[in-house]
């Protein structure tokens, strides 16, 4: 406390201290303690040094700690020195003048470990109150990394003089942490702990769980400690714990028994039993017991011994912190934090599900349009996604500015895949309108060819599609909830497409004709609509959207020739679950699949493969109950 006061005084007198003064006289006053410091008596010296407010004091402390201070034998003056050519290079502590001297004339000062630690603590005070902001920040960061109760005073003292608001708040935060963990009285600790309640920062959670650290304790009576509860373990584990702590005999493993038996084989027999017959555990145990009875091996721990031991000893979980009031407060605070963390995690999960939904929506909407209007499945849809992504990659090769290249890539990807889609419709699909299963296979042929073609052109390794700088990073709400800007951008893109498609289908001539052809192609044709043209354009539109989805997906995933096949089954699922031929249906399908997948992943976070497996099983079952999807078309358009 005294030192803290002194520091405050120092800070108050800072202008006065700037008047150039020499440190040497002060050092000479404490010559004995500086030359041969001891852990117990060095305190006042350090206080005096810190209290002097001299600018040289910090450097001196650092050098002293680093064993770079030497004392001249003849007059006892202190210098900094380093070994150089022909002796030691001395530096005057105050003036900074240098001179070379014979090493024998000087005595190196070597403070022991305890003293160096004390010096270090004194240095922290300097750093915490240093006029240099970066220095202060570094000191605070170092302190936060290793919360040391000894520095609580120094930290508290430095708060009032802190000019930087952010750093001040940070210091106050650390003071709360330190007080909560190491405060002098239970009252101050509980007060500090209560302020932590509901704070979901990772640091806070660590502090609370450190206060609530437990250890196991086995006793025969009620333990004299801050008990958290009794520990109920499975029989074997509980006994193993007792063996570890209470010097009870360990149960013999089958391996040990076998070795003991093997060691005692005499003429093919162990304890009178033929070794060849010992091929069951029971037979081995009997033979071993006979061996133990003859004193050739330690006795086995019987099951009743274990039962008895478990009945006598109770295993408690005990807080390392002795004060029940403090741990109770910490427990309450932790519960409050956990509730809040759970809420935040749910929100985070919802955001994740939303972003997955938008990806699936983007990947599937093009398919939904072509499938809905023409009733044919385009297995090459995934390859159109891939084409879009590669278009983005190629554009980036020519336009180095990522923002501009993205702006160019989006329409270009649409144009490329639109053209590819129209070409495929004209060349392949229109001949197969009455044979949907064969369309599936023919488009699959196209898909194999396109995939291999991409492999031949771009190679098998993944190509990067770099997002512009302003899409880097993540929007952070707190330590739990965050979402990357790319995912937000994809979400916005999905929303835009939803709006655009709704507009095209509901408000334009093309949309009207498309809907007419979807509902009844022959009737539409007799009304003067050219179904061929509509089908071609719709197929182009669906493929073009796949291209744009490819650019979006390529931004956060790697661009490979196989990326299409990663999305194709999910896209089909989305369309089928949502209901064919309806944008809202696709949205519903994407939401369901996205949310479901994230939900299952949350239940079993280590295993995304399992999540996908269960999701597909769920979808297979779902189709049993709603074969036409969530949003089913009614009337003639529904087919069959």
């Amino acid at each position: 406390m005294l030192r803290a006061l002194l520091t405050v005084l120092t800070l108050l007198c800072l202008p006065a201290a700037v008047l150039a003064q020499d440190l040497q006289p002060l050092l000479q006053e404490n010559q004995a303690q500086i030359a041969k410091p001891s852990r117990k008596k060095v305190g006042p010296v350090l206080d005096a040094l810190v209290g002097s407010g001299l600018p040289q004091a910090q450097e001196f402390l650092e050098k002293w700690q680093g064993k770079e201070v030497y004392q001249r034998q003849e007059d006892g003056l202190f210098f900094y020195a380093v070994k150089g050519d022909g002796g030691l290079v001395l530096t005057d502590i105050d003036s900074g003048e240098t001179a070379t001297i014979d090493a024998k004339a000087m005595k190196q000062i070597k403070p022991n470990g305890g003293v160096r630690k004390a010096i270090g603590e004194a240095l922290v005070q300097f750093q915490l109150s240093s006029p240099d902001l970066t220095r202060r920040q570094e000191a605070v960061t170092a302190l936060a990394r290793n919360l040391d109760p000894a520095q609580l005073g120094a930290l508290e003292a430095s708060i009032s003089g802190e000019t930087d608001a952010a750093l001040k708040a940070r210091k106050e935060q650390l003071v709360t942490y330190l007080t909560a963990r190491f405060g002098d009285t239970p009252e101050t600790r509980i007060a500090a702990i209560n302020t932590l309640s509901g704070d979901i920062r990772v640091e806070t959670r660590a502090v609370l769980s450190q206060i609530l650290t437990t250890k196991t304790l086995s006793t025969q009576s009620q333990p004299d400690a801050n008990v958290a509860g009794t520990l109920s373990l499975p029989r074997e584990e509980a006994y193993a714990l007792l063996v570890e702590t209470q010097d009870l005999p360990a149960p013999l493993t089958n391996d040990v028994i076998r070795k003991a038996l093997e060691a005692n084989i005499e003429g093919g027999k162990v304890a009178g039993v033929s070794a060849a017959s010992l091929n069951t555990i029971a037979a081995r145990n009997t033979a071993y017991d006979a061996l133990a009875a003859s004193g050739k091996a330690p006795a086995r721990v019987s099951e009743s011994d274990i039962t008895q031991a478990l009945a006598t000893w109770t295993i408690y979980e005990v807080y390392e912190d002795p004060d029940p009031a403090v741990t109770a407060a910490a427990k309450a605070a932790q519960d409050a934090v956990n509730t809040k963390v759970a809420v935040s995690q749910t929100a985070d999960l919802a955001l994740d599900a939303l972003s997955l939904t938008s990806i699936y929506f983007l990947a599937a909407i093009g398919l939904a349009i072509t499938f809905g209007v023409m009733g044919v499945i385009n297995m090459a849809h995934g390859e159109f996604i891939m084409m879009g992504a590669y278009t983005g990659y190629v554009v980036q090769l020519f336009i180095p500015n990522y923002t501009v290249s993205l702006i160019v890539a989006l329409p270009l990807a649409f144009a490329v895949t639109f053209a590819a889609g129209v070409a495929m419709e004209r060349l392949v699909i229109r001949w197969l309108y009455n044979r949907p299963l064969e369309t599936l296979l023919a488009t699959f042929g196209v898909s194999i060819a396109l995939q291999q073609l991409a492999k031949n052109i771009f190679g098998t390794q993944a190509r990067p599609l770099t997002s512009p700088g302003w899409l880097d990073g993540a929007l952070v709400f707190n330590d739990v909830i965050q979402i990357s800007y790319i995912r937000i951008a994809i979400f916005v893109l999905a929303l835009l497409f939803l709006a655009l498609l709704l507009f095209i289908l509901k408000r334009t001539r093309l949309g009207l004709e498309t809907r007419a052809v979807t509902q009844n192609p022959r009737m539409a044709a007799s009304m003067g609509i050219n179904p061929d043209r509509i089908k071609m354009l719709t197929f182009g539109l669906g493929s073009g959207i796949a291209g744009i989805a490819g650019v979006a997906i390529g931004l956060y995933a790697k661009v490979t020739s196989e990326m299409g096949s990663d999305y194709i089954v999910q896209s089909f699922m989305t369309v089928v679950v949502g209901g064919v031929g309806n944008i809202w249906g696709t949205l519903a399908g994407a939401s369901m699949i996205g949310t479901l997948q994230k939900g299952i992943e949350w239940l079993n976070p280590s295993n995304t493969l399992a999540a996908q497996t269960y999701m597909i099983l769920f979808i297979i079952l779902f189709i049993q109950f709603r074969p036409k999807g969530i949003v089913a078309l009614k009337g003639r358009a529904a087919g069959d």
């Binding site: 010992l278 299963l437 296979l441």
Partner: protein
């Protein structure tokens, strides 16, 4: 009685007779030329390739029945094939590891207990995925009889349950195809997990070593498997020829052409479809059980949806709705594939660009597939039919 029946059946279906005769002749030629017979004109590895091709023919005719005759484009039959392979692979791996473990433990002074043996086998098998205990699905792996039953039952039951669910709710056409593809994908993803109990990504390996025949050379074993595959194909062909002939065959084809009309005529469409789906799944399982001991290794990648689609490609190129078409397709495409992707095909130098077949074969396959679908819906087999008609 049966002889008379089969005689009349074969006479009424001359193509069956032709196929069986050529299969027999082919088997004879391969046997005589194989290393096991002493001539050695055909290497052991090529005998294996031929044997595997026969197994692929078997699953191809199963696919042809379910798709070409019944109109169900199943993209899941390779999953049944893989299940058959896994079922037999579990026994092969268990029995072989058991022999090795017994050898290792025989040095012990005290004979091992049953649990020690089983633990040692489990550690040996599952060490690669960091487990050391037998999962529940390996409960029958010690018994060849039970595992052979699994080869039939697991694909059969899976097909029965899946088919019942799907046909009952009248899922048809492309929806059904996508659904079967989803089933395949789910199975493959499940098997890819390390804790699936089937060694995850590593799959089952060393299947070419048949327990109990360690002393027999691979040349003899490969020929035995070749014969077994040929026999299975012959029996499978007869079975499917019989199923697709007669009144049942007519109903099945009618379901393909107009399901609703058959239903209105009073037939239990769902039962017929379920029967065909399950029967072909069981045959696929048998084909897999014969294929993988010849391949030596099975892993989840074999089951991936793409494999089932290739199966459809073979049948389509060979000719749907004709059993021999499926065989032609499977032989033609799979042998051609291994020729072109094996690297032995000569590169074509165009002057400005060298066409490497390993790179361009899939492009060619994909495009020729489109061409066959568009221009020759009957596949290669329709060419034979044209020739036959001209005569």
């Amino acid at each position: 009685m049966t002889k008379a029946l089969s005689k009349t059946f074969l006479i009424r279906h001359p193509s069956t007779l032709w196929v069986l005769a050529s299969l027999g002749l082919f088997t004879l030629i391969v046997s005589v030329l194989s290393e096991a017979a002493g001539t050695g004109l055909i290497s052991t590895s090529f005998v294996k390739t031929l044997g595997k091709t026969l197994c692929l023919c078997l699953i191809a005719i199963a696919m042809d029945v379910v798709w070409g005759y019944c109109g169900i484009l199943s993209l899941g039959h390779f999953a049944f094939f893989g299940i058959g392979g896994y079922a037999i692979g579990m026994w092969l791996m268990y029995a072989r590891t058991e022999a090795i473990v017994a050898q290792n433990l025989s040095a012990n002074l005290i004979p091992p207990t049953d649990s020690e043996i089983s633990d040692a086998i489990a550690t040996q098998i599952f060490g690669v995925v960091g487990a050391s205990e037998f999962p529940a699905i390996w409960a029958f792996s010690h018994s060849l009889t039970l595992q052979l039953l699994m080869v039939l039952l697991v694909p059969g039951l899976l097909a029965l349950v899946f088919g019942w669910l799907a046909f009952r709710s009248r899922v048809t056409g492309v929806y059904l195809s996508i659904l079967t593809q989803a089933m395949t994908l789910a199975l493959a993803l499940y098997l890819f997990q390390n804790d699936s109990g089937l060694r995850g990504n590593n799959g089952l390996s060393g299947l070419q070593n048949i327990p109990g025949f360690e002393a027999t050379s691979q040349a003899v074993i490969s020929l035995a498997f070749f014969w077994a595959s040929a026999l299975a194909l012959a029996l499978g062909y007869l079975l499917f020829a019989w199923v697709t002939a007669g009144k049942m065959g007519s109903v099945i084809r009618a379901i393909r052409d107009d399901e609703a009309r058959v239903r209105f005529l009073g037939y239990q469409v769902e039962s017929y479809k379920l029967f065909v789906f399950t029967l072909t799944a069981v045959v696929s399982g048998i084909a897999g059980a014969l294929y993988y001991p010849q391949a030596g290794i099975i892993n989840p990648a074999e089951i991936a949806p793409i494999a089932s689609i290739y199966l459809a490609v073979w049948v389509a190129i060979g000719g749907r709705g004709k059993l021999y078409g499926a065989i032609i397709g499977a032989v033609f495409v799979s042998l051609l594939s291994s020729y072109f992707t094996g690297g032995s095909a000569p590169d074509i130098n165009l002057g400005f660009y060298v066409i490497k077949w390993t790179d361009w074969w899939l492009v060619l396959l994909g495009l020729s597939f489109v061409a066959v679908t568009l221009l020759f819906p009957g596949g290669i087999a329709s060419l034979f039919d044209k020739l036959a008609r001209k005569q």
